[in-house]
Amino acid sequence: MIFEDKLETVLVIDDEPFQTEWLTDYFKARGFEVVQAEDLQSALDALEKTRYRYVVIDLSIPVSPALAQPLAALGPEFFKYPGLMAARKARSTGHNSFQVIVYSVHDSDDVNSYTDLIVCRYILKGRPRELKLHIEDTIKREPHGWRSLSKRPVPTGPATRKSPRQKPAPKNKDRSC
């Protein structure tokens, strides 16, 4: 499968307009275009042939009846947190672990286990700076296995630093990138 690599674009998967609004402001201020998907089907469609610089995924997104069976087949945690299916899709289409961000209110062991399994970031909603710090930490990283990056604008925020409240990166994170 040949993907269209949109290095200047971020995919935000969330059905809450106020969430997508501040994320859009944030990414646009750093020179990115933002594409939005408001439900699981739109998210899967957006990930079908395209890879993005970042994919930010809310776990609680609307699901059409047609996707209920595929979700159930994946397991009860997918039925409860449909965004996991989008995270799975993003990781299976060549997005690196640092590019796929599960961003959710739910502090769940199931989600923790699954994001460890597919090796992606899992950041809890409540302190938006944690998400921003992850972006600032990784904005200069070139996705492994992608065509060469064009020169990216450097973020205007503070110098990169590690958030003490971020979920620690899995030990095998770098192997998968």
């Binding site: 307009p17 106020f18 402001d25 609307p62 699901v63 209110v105 205007t156």
Partner: protein, 242 residues
């Protein structure tokens, strides 16, 4: 058996609380993100006022959710005592309708929706606490803004039944109707229909339940009827006057 019922109640309470936390943390997270963006200069200067207005409406929305929960806790603990503590107040219906509608200016704008009061001038009055009855309309408008089709209006019609002197208030939105067998169930606590889950991923399942509790305090009723592309909530409050 008792253990089983107790466990079911606990699971139910935890589910309700989980939904509630999600509904409150999510908008507050967006407010924090927005304010941080403004402080860091990440919002275009022409959009700052709109972002602050949007943040304000999100905070107000959270306050209403917390009020819903507080009402639920207080009322269910002692329904009769609650009735006795809230006697003798009068609600001017158009006034609370307008106040409730103002909550949804910002979210309505995003969905290109408006709340239209068919009659703003007739001063229908009923016995009841305006804070509680405003909450009923806030919950119904919230329901409409979430589940009605974008770029449609929510219409509110009121009239007094001549025979009974009851005030009938219809809140009509353009949404896919709820299946007939669920018309009663949508007022159960924690219930969220398939349509609701398909359109909006998260919800407390509290709003309509609280509407029914509140109108019940004043011996009123609320019912749902649906037909093609239209949902109507009809509230009946006895003893109305102008």
């Amino acid at each position: 058996m008792n253990n089983s019922v107790h466990r079911d109640e606990q699971v139910f309470s935890l589910t309700l609380m989980s939904n509630f936390v999600h509904q409150v943390v999510n908008p507050l997270n967006a407010v924090c993100g927005t304010l941080d963006n403004i402080v860091k200069g990440d919002v275009p200067s022409g959009s700052i006022k709109q972002r602050i207005n949007a943040s304000q409406s999100q905070i107000e929305y959270c306050i209403e959710l917390i009020r819903n929960l507080a009402f639920l806790a207080e009322y269910t603990r002692d329904p009769e005592g609650y009735r006795q503590r809230h006697p003798g107040k009068v609600t001017v219906i158009p006034q609370v309708l307008i106040e409730a509608a103002l909550f949804f200016q910002e979210t309505g704008r995003k969905k290109r929706m408006k709340i239209h009061l068919a009659d703003r001038d007739t001063q229908y009055k009923v016995n009841g606490d305006p804070d509680l009855l405003r909450q009923v309309f806030i919950n119904l408008f919230d329901n409409g803004v979430k589940y009605a089709h974008p770029a449609t209006d929510i219409i509110v019609k009121s009239h007094i039944q001549k025979k009974s002197n009851a005030l009938l208030i219809e809140v009509i939105n353009s949404s896919d109707p709820v299946p007939l067998d669920l018309w009663e169930r949508i007022f159960e606590v924690g219930f969220r229909g398939e349509n609701a889950q398909r359109l909006v991923a998260s919800g407390t399942g509290l709003g309509l339940y609280i509407c029914r509790l509140i109108v019940g305090i004043y011996d009123g009723s609320i019912k749902y009827t649906g037909r093609a592309n239209e949902s109507t909530f009809t509230i009946r409050l006895p003893g109305a006057w102008i």
